[in-house]
Every structure is written in structure tokens, then in C-alpha cells.
């Protein structure tokens, strides 16, 4: 089969699934989930078949979708290269397992049709972003993932917070899309094409043709989608959606799409744009880490963690290691999905209780979940030889390497911030681990918790036990882990992550190499120290299974800052409910009072007034009327005599 056709089938399968569910299975809950899961399975199988057969060459192909005039055409096309391969693997693999998990998690939900339809639409849109070969098409699917995200966040739509969160997510994403779209238009007119490969060729031929503005505008899209500063506010609210959604969309794939896109158009980014990304990413790692410490909600904590790790990815891009960012994205997809799924499992077990301090002591009741969570915690904290270690630590090290290689002080700052971020990761993850799983149950619901069904636990095992632990390791030590890996992961997928970028001077190896050159091994030790120190501190500070947050007790002010997320939401809320609304009301006032009232109806009133005056001239007296005549005669006569001209 033609590879393009295969890709098209992969892309269209979820669309077909969504269409079937939307048209026929709106009320057929189980059938809908079956269709959706089968579609996800087909995607996964076909993707891996495709990847295994792929020879590593870039595949492109397109057809015209809309043509107007000679110079404007909107193409539908695929650009399949290394980052696409990685992303495809991640989306297909993680997506499938989360689908499976959802079957269990959504077991008692009455709107399964809507949920699984949404998941299918999401898969479709996400795959579209992965495969798109031009900016226009990226934008199309960009919007569509935004929509599916909106739809899934609003799954519990009878809840006010879900309604608000979905709205917020979509609108904030649109703000990002505003810049994105401007950037696309700019790029399109500047380069005369929206095709990514064509633009690549142009820039390769003439590197001076990069424009900071275009990069920054495109970055807006990334900022919105990947919830970077200052548009990060929507992601934590997005946790209002069902947990599998949080896992798939708001942790593993969609939010990473921003990173993926930045990697795709990496060649467009000027040093200035990169530095901007670097700073925003690095600061986000710390900021989100602190905020995570102030959350009681298990999912919100994870959401901040996601923000922080997106910050890491951004840092990697900012450092100039797009491959590394992709790799971290892949690793993050594994462990963060695991963490979310675990939290989903816990929440499901605790009858939708999300407050960590009402849980506790769950490790005995839910061993599978616990193990998965534990492994993922290690991974996210970048404990050596777990998945996170290979990517995250390399980012920190890469930052140092850049600084050491004399590229500027900004890299030192980036290093410092990311390192602090690593410490914070250990802190909030440790806090979570100890609070949720150790000690004694703190509530009725937690005490009745029990392990979830196989639908949920199997994905936990696959994603958590195996992938979180092994992904990076397999990747890195590919050469001698052949036997194990072959059974689980297609060889090439892992390989791309390494050598797909090594030659691009922006991959994992490049970063690692740079770091090795600097010879600063203390960095490694420091990061280990951070991890160990962080865990120890949390172990002692929070204790096992506490009923309340000790930080909140000891330092309420600080905790409040963390909890309120630096009052970002409040500022935005203030803007929306006061400033924007006042402006809108004022405009509406102008519209109704001035334009509609004063001008339009005012002129009507003036006409009416003049009419009243002229009407009052009809006094009814003959005399009054004869005056008109004599006036008329005089005027006419004067006119004839030339007195009026």
C-alpha cells in the first residue's frame, strides 16, 4: 500500500469513528466506546506497521483543498519525517491505552457517546497536526484539537465549573491562535508559500530570510496551546474534564502539540525568538512547580506539573535542541499519562474525590495503581535510568553545556531555573506520593477504595510500569536492550529519538555531547541531590497521609500565593468581568445610544420636529395662507427680475 494512503487511512479512521458515533451511536454508550477503542487500536496497529516499514526518508504528498486565483491555494498534505514519526508513535500508543482506560473510567457515565466521539475527534485532529505539511493545515487541526479539548472539558456540562473551564480553554487558545494566524499570514506572504518543506528549503538556501516577528507570531500559537506564560491559565481549569481527557489531551499529546509545532518550524526561529522561548520555558518550570505545591486537588497538582514540564520542553527548544524537546515530550507523555491515569484510578476508586488530603493509605488498597504512580513519580523526577532522566536531565545539562560553551548568561539562568524546577518536581511529586498513598485513609471514600478494573489497570501497567520506567532507558541503551525492546516497542520509533536529531545538531546527542564537553559532572550530582533531597524533605515535612497541608498551616501566606497561582487567574478574571465587560457595555451603550439613538433615531426625530413646525404653519386661517401666496409671488417675481441670483 502506498505510504500516503496508509497515512490517510490512519488519519481518517478516527474521523470515521467520530462520524459513526455522532450519527448513529449518540445513545449507544457501549457501542460508542467499542467503536472508538477499535478505531484507536486500528490507529495504533497501522501506525506501528507503518513505522516499522518506514525507511527513514521524508515522505510528502499533497492535494489541493481550496484554490482561489493563481497565488492562493490551500493544500491538504502530509509531511512525514522524524519528529512526525515520534509524535505519531506517541499519539497512537498513548492514545490507544488511554482509550482503553476510558472504557473503565467512564463505565458509569451516561454520556459515553459524546465522550468517545470527542476522543475520536481529538485523535483525528491530533493526527492531523502530526502529519500536516503546511502551516494552513496545521492551523486547521490546531483549531480542531482546540474544539475537541473544549468539548471534552465540557463533558460534565451540568457543572458550572466545567462550563467555565471549557469556555476559558477555548478562548485562551484562541488568543494564542490570534498571533498564530497573523504569523501564518505573514509567513505565507513573506515566503510565498505555507508549505513547511518549501519554507525550509528557502531558509536553507538563504538563512537570512528568517524573521523574528514571524517566529514570535507563530510562537503565540504554541504559547496558547502549550499553556505557556502568559496563557497558562486555562490548563489547570481544564482539569474539569474527565481524567482520561486530562491524561491524553492536557498532559500527553495536545499540549505537547505546541512543542511539536515549534520543533517543526524550528528553522524559522531566530536567536531572539529562541531566547524568548528559553526564558519563558525556564521560568515556567519554577513558577508552575511552586504553584503545584499549593494545590490540594490531585489533578491540579498534576496540571501544574504538566505546565512545568512543558516549560522544560520549551527550554529545550530555547536552548536550540528541538530533538531533545521532542524526546522529553515523548517521555513526558508516558509518565504524565501514567500519573494522570493513576490519579484517575484513584479518583474513580474514591468516588470522584479529588482532594489529596482526603485520601491517604491507598497503596495497600490499590497496589497496581500505586506501583505505576510510584514508577512515574521517579520518572518525572528524573531519577537516573527512568524515562524522565534521559530527557529532563539532559535539558538541564544541556543548559549548562550551552553556558559553559560560552553562549551567554541566559543559559546559566536557564540552568539554574531548570535545576530549581527539578527540585520542585521532587518536592511536589513526593508530597503527592506520600499524601495520597501512605498513611491512613483520611475519609470515608478513601477507606472504601479498591483496585480498579482491568480496563484501567492494564493501561497503568503498560504505560506506567513499562514505559515510564523503560522508555528512555530503552532508547538510550538501545544497542544492548534489543531483546526486550523488540517485544514491546518497534525498534525504529525509539531510534528516531536518538539519531533523528543527532545529525540535526539539535537532538539529544548534541545536547549530551555539549554537556560532556563542559565536563561539569557536578551538575549530575547536583540534580541527583535535588531529587533525593526533595523526596526526603517531603517525607519529613508532610509526613505520611496527612489530613491537611503542613505548608498551609506553617506558612499560610506562602501557600496562598502558590494556591492562587500568583493571582494570575484573578487578574484575568478581573479583566474579563470588569475591564472587558465594561468596555463591551460601553461600546454597546455607544451603539444603542449614540449610533442607534442619537444619530439614527435622532435624525428621525429632527425630521419629525421639522414636520411639526411645518405642520403648524397650517393655521387654518385664510389670511395666513394668502401670505404664502404673496410671498410666493414676490419670490417668483424677484427671481424673474434677477434679484435672487
Amino acid at each position: 500500500m502506498n505510504p500516503l494512503e496508509l497515512l490517510a487511512i490512519i488519519l481518517l479512521t478516527p474521523l470515521a469513528s467520530a462520524a459513526i458515533i455522532c450519527l448513529f451511536l449518540r445513545r449507544g454508550g457501549y457501542w460508542a466506546s467499542a467503536v472508538s477503542v477499535v478505531a484507536a487500536a486500528v490507529i495504533m496497529v497501522l501506525s506501528f506497521v507503518f513505522l516499522l516499514k518506514w525507511d527513514g526518508q521524508t515522505i510528502t504528498g499533497s492535494l489541493t483543498w481550496l484554490q482561489l486565483g493563481q497565488d492562493y491555494s490551500f493544500d491538504l498534505g502530509f509531511l512525514f519525517n522524524h519528529e512526525a514519526a515520534t509524535m505519531l508513535a506517541v499519539v497512537a500508543f498513548v492514545g490507544f491505552w488511554i482509550h482503553v482506560f476510558s472504557v473503565g473510567y467512564m463505565d458509569d457515565d451516561r454520556d459515553k457517546g459524546r465522550f468517545f466521539g470527542g476522543l475520536s475527534i481529538f485523535m483525528f485532529s491530533m493526527l492531523g497536526i502530526v502529519l500536516a505539511d503546511n502551516l494552513f493545515m496545521v492551523f486547521v487541526f490546531w483549531e480542531l484539537v482546540g474544539f475537541s479539548s473544549y468539548m471534552l472539558i465540557a463533558h460534565y456540562w451540568d457543572k458550572d465549573f466545567a462550563a467555565a473551564a471549557s469556555k476559558k480553554a477555548f478562548i485562551v487558545n484562541r488568543i494564542g491562535d490570534f498571533g498564530f494566524l497573523v504569523g501564518i499570514a505573514w509567513a505565507y506572504h513573506y515566503y510565498g508559500t505555507a508549505d513547511i518543506s518549501a519554507i525550509t528549503a528557502i531558509i536553507k538556501a538563504d538563512p537570512s530570510k528568517t524573521v523574528t516577528g514571524i517566529g514570535l507570531c507563530l510562537m503565540c500559537g504554541f504559547i496558547g496551546k502549550s499553556a505557556q506564560f502568559p496563557l497558562q491559565v486555562w490548563l489547570t481549569d481544564a482539569m474539569a474534564g474527565p481524567t482520561p481527557v486530562s491524561a491524553l489531551i492536557h498532559a500527553a499529546t495536545m499540549v505537547a502539540a505546541g512543542i511539536y509545532f515549534m520543533v517543526r518550524v524550528f528553522f524559522l526561529l531566530t536567536p531572539f525568538a529562541l531566547e524568548w522561548i528559553l526564558w519563558s520555558g525556564a521560568i515556567m518550570t519554577v513558577f508552575a512547580g511552586f504553584c503545584a505545591l499549593g494545590q490540594n486537588d490531585i489533578k491540579k497538582t498534576l496540571a501544574y506539573s504538566t505546565l512545568a514540564h512543558l516549560g522544560y520542553m520549551a527550554t529545550a527548544i530555547g536552548l536550540g535542541f528541538p530533538g531533545l524537546a521532542i524526546m522529553h515530550m515523548a517521555m513526558h507523555a508516558c509518565f504524565k499519562a501514567t500519573l494522570f491515569l493513576c490519579s484517575g484510578s484513584v479518583i474513580h476508586a474514591c468516588h470522584h474525590e479529588q482532594d489529596m488530603f482526603k485520601m491517604g493509605g491507598l497503596w495497600k488498597k490499590m497496589p497496581v495503581t500505586f506501583v505505576a504512580f510510584f514508577v512515574a513519580t521517579l520518572s518525572i523526577s528524573a531519577v537516573p535510568f527512568t524515562a524522565g532522566y534521559y530527557s529532563k536531565d539532559t535539558i538541564i545539562a544541556g543548559a549548562w553545556g550551552k553556558f559553559a560553551a560560552g553562549h551567554g548568561d541566559a543559559y546559566a539562568w536557564a540552568f539554574g531555573l531548570t535545576m530549581l524546577g527539578a527540585l520542585l518536581t521532587a518536592l511536589y511529586m513526593g508530597r503527592m506520593l506520600f499524601v495520597v498513598f501512605f498513611g491512613k485513609p483520611n475519609s470515608e471514600k478513601a477507606s472504601h477504595a479498591h483496585e480498579s478494573s482491568p480496563w484501567m489497570s492494564v493501561p497503568l501497567v503498560v504505560l506506567g510500569w513499562i514505559m515510564s520506567l523503560g522508555a528512555g532507558w530503552f532508547v538510550y541503551h538501545w544497542g544492548w536492550a534489543d531483546g526486550v525492546m523488540n517485544a514491546l516497542v518497534p525498534a525504529d520509533v525509539a531510534q528516531f529519538m536518538i539519531d533523528g536529531y543527532s545529525h540535526a545538531a539539535g537532538g539529544w546527542e548534541a545536547a549530551h555531547h555539549l554537556f560532556e564537553e563542559s565536563g561539569a559532572h557536578w551538575v549530575e550530582y547536583l540534580s541527583w541531590g535535588c531529587i533525593i533531597g526533595g523526596f526526603l524533605f517531603t517525607f519529613f515535612f508532610y509526613g505520611r497521609g496527612p489530613a491537611q497541608d503542613r505548608l498551609q498551616v506553617k506558612a499560610p501566606g506562602l501557600y496562598h500565593v502558590f494556591e492562587r497561582h500568583g493571582w494570575f487567574d484573578d487578574i484575568y478574571d478581573f479583566y474579563v468581568s470588569h475591564i472587558q465587560r465594561r468596555i463591551a457595555d460601553f461600546m454597546a451603550f455607544i451603539d444603542t445610544a449614540v449610533i442607534g439613538g442619537l444619530v439614527v433615531r435622532g435624525s428621525g426625530a429632527v425630521a419629525g420636529l421639522v414636520g411639526m413646525v411645518s405642520r403648524s404653519l397650517h393655521v387654518g386661517s385664510i389670511h395666513g395662507y394668502v401670505y404664502w401666496f404673496i410671498a410666493g409671488v414676490l419670490l417668483f417675481g424677484a427671481f424673474a427680475l434677477g434679484l435672487l441670483r
Partner: protein, 529 residues
């Protein structure tokens, strides 16, 4: 000349009229007979439009027009007016739009349970006939004539079957739209004069213009007249005050047809008549047009955000979207104008859909005030689904036809007016804000107290078949074009490519005699931005 398909074209106008006449004389008929007659009156044009659309690609064309036929009604020799019908690449999709929306509106109306239903349907049928005529006319006088024919029932329908505040709304709308119509009429007659009394036949006029173009100053004047005349009819900022109030007061089927199809008259006039015949004028008025269109998008967008009344909001949003279309026309390029035409098509479907659904919401909540709603989605999930789809369509989500229009316009706009892109794109945020806010306020969250009180003891069902079918008709149109824009873009593209005005080269040569003014204006905006 008059072959079968040409006959069909005129039948698309005559059948609704005949149905209207039948209803007029058959007022004593039983309601089902009236419904049946009206049903034929709506179904026939839609079917004909689809058929003609399907055959458009293969049809024999003269000067880009297919299915031509001409009838002299007495003014051909003196005023050069004749009933001259045909479809070209731009009018054909809009003709189709008129057919589709007409069918949807007709269906809605037939099931509307309106008081004095036969009269209601009668007026709607007249409107439908006018709409079919507008886009089928080659003669620009009849183009105008049919528009007015379709406009008149609006006033009456608003007055009789309208909602709150209809008396003043109908009056304001009538007076205001008459002003617009009169200005555009003057403009059209002016064209007749400026072209040495060639007549009102668009084909001949184009030939005339290509042979000897109209003097620049005259072009300037005519285009100004047409711009403001059409602008009022299309609710160009700041001439829009009639629209939201009018739509809010209008009965649903009427609002669907008016906002969906009739309003496209002015835009269509600009694309087909004003710009091709008066390229220099278009160029000179362009800067102002862009500013006004941005006013539509930004100012009206913000006003829309402030609306609490669902129907007013839909009305305002429809005004806002006109801004995009004006921008598309202002690009004066194939892409931009093509995008504008696509958006005209798409907006026609989506706004009609919004009106259907708003009415469906009203039927359940008993109010249009969004603050008194909430949580309707739990009781009417399908309605909610439709509504969200409609919102997303009007917000410009890919997969719906609107996206193509908006996106293409943004892309085309950059070429000559890069500064205007950013403010224009701001509109996508604004429309997302009000669209989603409405969806959330109506369908999501917990029911408001007022709604709980109002709906206490009432069974609120999901969308009924009468409401569903128009909605489905419209959504199918939106999605089909959304997924396969070629379906309408091909003919538009061909037509526009044949139009020398929209070609970049020709414009620049045309520009030279009057280059000073537009160039200066342009430079001014560049610095202003």
C-alpha cells in the same frame, strides 16, 4: 436560447410566486392544503437550484453565464431594462444558498404554528421568489427589483408576527433600508448613465467598461453611492443599527431568509457589479471600506459581547461577520473576493441555523435573556449539540464552511493591507468569546433560578423533528463545504479568474491614472498602522 434549464431557472422564481398567489386565493383552504402548496413553493426552488448547480459545470456558457433567458417587459427600448436571467460562477452558489436556506426557512415556517399561517407562508414565498430572482438576474435593475420584492415581506412579517418591540423595529428597519435601497438604486442608474445608456444588462455593461472605461471621478461617485447604499443594506458599520433590532423582532423564518440570504445582496452587488464596473472607484474607496469593516469586526464584536439577549446577540454577530466579507471584497483579489463569496455562502447557512436554534431555545425557555437560562443541555442534548455546532461554525472552526471564508480573507488581506490583518484576526477571539459564552449560558452549568422557576412542572423535550430538519439541512451544507470547499470554490474561482479587475496586473495598470489618491491613502495607513 431558452432551453429546459433556462426554463427551470425562471420557474425557480415563478413557482414560489405561483404558490403565493395560490395561497392568496385559497385562504379558506384547510391548513394542510396551504402547507402542501407552500411546501411545493419552497421545495421546487431548492430542487431546481440543486439541479442547476449540479449541471453548472457542464452547462454551455456565454460570457460566463449559463441558463440564460431574456424577456422584455416593456422597458427595454426606453430604459434598457429587461428580465434577463442566468447564473454565473458567483451567482450560482448564492442561488443555491437561496434555495437551501429557503427550504430550511420554509420548513421551519410550515411547522411554526404561526397565527394566520397561510398569510405567513404567502409572504415568505414572495420573499423566496425574490431571493431566487436576485441571484438569477443578469439585469442589474431586476437584481435590485427582486431584492426589494424580497425585502417588503420582511417589514410586514416583522410587524405582524414579530416579537417584542416589533413596531418600532419594523419601522426603523423599513426607513433605514429604504434609504440604503434608494442610494443603491441611484448608484445603479448612475451606472446606466455613466455607460452611455448601455442599459442595465450586466454583460453588456462589462463589455462597455472593458472597451471604454468610465471616467475616474464618476467612478468615484458611483462607487461611493453603491458602497453606502449596499453598505446600509448589508449593515456596514456604522449603518447597522437596524439589523440587530430588526432580527431580534423578526419571526424566525423571516430572519433566516433575511440575514441568511437577502443581506448578501449588497455584497453580491459589490462583487459582481460595483467592483468590476468601477475598479478605480473601488480602489479609491478601499481604505475607508477597510476601516469601516474593521469597525464591524471590532466595535460590533465588542457590542456583541455585551448582549444578554440571545436573538440580539445573533443579530449583532451577523453584523460583525459582515466585516470579514467586506474586508474580503476590499482586497480586490481573486483570493479575497473568493473568500468573501465563500463566507457569504457559509454565513448564510450558519446564521440561518443560529436563528432556527435560537427559536428552538426560546420554545423551551420562554425567554431570550441568556441570564435566565442555563442547563438546558441536560434536557435537550441534541439541541445543545446543534447549537454548539452552529456556534462553532460561526466562530469559524475548520470543518465548517465559514472557516474557508474567514481564513482565505485573512490570507488575502495581508497582500495589500497587512496592517489590517491583526485587528481583523482579533475578531476570531471576540466571536469565540460571545459564541461560547452563549453556549455555556444556555446549555451548560446549573439551570438559573429564573429558568428553574419557569420550567417547573413543564416537560422540556429535545429538539423536535420540525426544528431538526431545517437545522440538519443547513448543517449538511456547512459541513459539506467545510470538508470539500472545492464544491463551491471551483466555479467562483473560474468566474473571478475571468474577471480582469481582480487580477493583480490589471489593477495596477488601471490604478495609474488615479494613482495619486489611493497611493497616498495607502501610504497614510501604512504609517498609521
Amino acid at each position: 436560447m431558452t432551453d429546459f434549464n433556462s426554463l427551470l431557472l425562471i420557474l425557480a422564481i415563478v413557482i414560489p410566486l405561483a404558490a403565493a398567489v395560490a395561497l392568496l386565493f385559497g385562504q379558506k383552504l384547510c391548513p394542510c392544503a396551504a402547507k402542501f402548496i407552500a411546501g411545493i413553493g419552497f421545495l421546487a426552488p431548492a430542487a431546481i437550484a440543486l439541479w442547476l448547480w449540479g449541471n453548472f459545470g457542464e452547462a454551455a456558457k456565454t460570457a460566463g453565464y449559463a441558463y440564460m433567458s431574456q424577456y422584455d417587459l416593456g422597458m427595454k427600448d426606453t430604459l434598457g431594462i429587461s428580465l434577463y436571467l442566468g447564473l454565473n460562477g458567483i451567482s450560482a452558489p448564492l442561488f443555491l444558498l437561496a434555495g437551501i436556506v429557503g427550504l430550511a426557512a420554509g420548513w421551519q415556517a410550515i411547522n411554526a404554528k404561526a397565527e394566520r399561517l397561510p398569510q405567513y407562508l404567502l409572504l415568505l414565498l414572495i420573499m423566496q421568489a425574490g431571493l431566487m430572482g436576485v441571484f438569477a438576474s443578469i439585469d442589474i435593475f431586476f437584481f435590485y427589483f427582486f431584492h426589494e420584492l424580497a425585502l417588503i415581506p420582511t417589514f410586514i412579517m416583522i410587524g405582524i408576527w414579530g416579537g417584542a418591540g416589533r413596531r418600532s423595529a419594523a419601522m426603523e428597519m423599513t426607513v433605514y433600508l429604504t434609504l440604503g435601497a434608494m442610494l443603491s438604486l441611484l448608484g445603479l442608474i448612475y451606472i446606466y448613465k455613466a455607460s452611455d445608456w448601455t442599459g442595465f444588462d450586466l454583460i453588456a455593461l462589462r463589455e462597455y467598461v472593458s472597451a471604454h472605461s468610465i471616467a475616474d471621478a464618476v467612478q468615484h461617485n458611483i462607487f461611493g453611492l453603491l458602497l453606502f447604499g449596499f453598505g446600509i443594506l448589508v449593515s456596514l458599520f456604522p449603518f447597522h443599527s437596524w439589523a440587530p433590532r430588526g432580527y431580534a423582532a423578526a419571526p424566525t423564518a423571516n430572519a433566516m431568509l433575511h440575514a441568511g440570504v437577502l443581506k448578501k445582496f449588497g455584497l453580491y452587488g459589490l462583487v459582481q457589479i460595483a467592483v468590476p464596473l468601477l475598479p478605480v472607484g473601488a480602489l479609491e474607496w478601499n481604505p475607508l471600506l477597510i476601516w469601516l469593516a474593521l469597525g464591524n469586526i471590532l466595535f460590533i464584536g465588542l457590542v456583541t459581547i455585551a448582549q444578554r439577549d440571545l436573538k440580539l446577540m445573533v443579530g449583532y454577530s451577523s453584523v460583525m461577520h459582515m466585516g470579514y466579507i467586506f474586508l474580503g471584497i476590499a482586497t480586490l483579489s481573486v483570493a479575497g473576493v473568493g473568500g468573501a463569496v465563500i463566507l457569504m455562502f457559509a454565513h448564510g447557512l450558519s446564521v440561518a441555523l443560529m436563528f432556527v436554534l435560537s427559536t428552538a431555545v426560546y420554545a423551551r425557555t420562554g425567554t431570550y435573556d441568556m441570564r435566565d437560562m442555563g442547563g438546558l443541555g441536560m434536557k435537550a442534548p441534541l439541541l445543545a449539540g446543534f447549537f454548539v455546532a452552529a456556534t462553532m461554525a460561526s466562530v469559524g472552526l475548520p470543518g465548517f464552511a465559514n472557516f474557508w471564508g474567514e481564513f482565505t480573507i485573512f490570507m488575502a488581506l495581508w497582500k495589500d493591507h497587512a496592517w489590517a490583518v491583526a485587528p481583523a484576526v482579533l475578531g476570531i477571539i471576540i466571536s469565540a468569546i460571545y459564541g461560547l459564552r452563549a453556549a455555556a449560558a444556555i446549555f451548560m452549568g446549573a439551570p438559573s433560578e429564573a429558568f428553574q422557576k419557569a420550567s417547573a412542572g413543564k416537560a422540556i423535550g429535545d429538539i423536535t423533528r420540525a426544528e431538526r430538519i431545517p437545522a440538519i439541512i443547513l448543517i449538511i451544507g456547512l459541513v459539506l463545504v467545510g470538508f470539500w470547499p472545492h464544491s463551491i470554490s471551483t466555479s467562483i474561482n473560474e468566474e473571478l479568474m475571468g474577471d480582469s479587475v481582480y487580477q493583480p496586473k490589471v489593477l495596477s495598470t488601471v490604478q495609474t491614472p488615479a494613482a495619486a489618491t489611493p497611493a497616498a491613502g495607502h501610504a497614510h495607513e501604512e504609517s498609521a498602522s
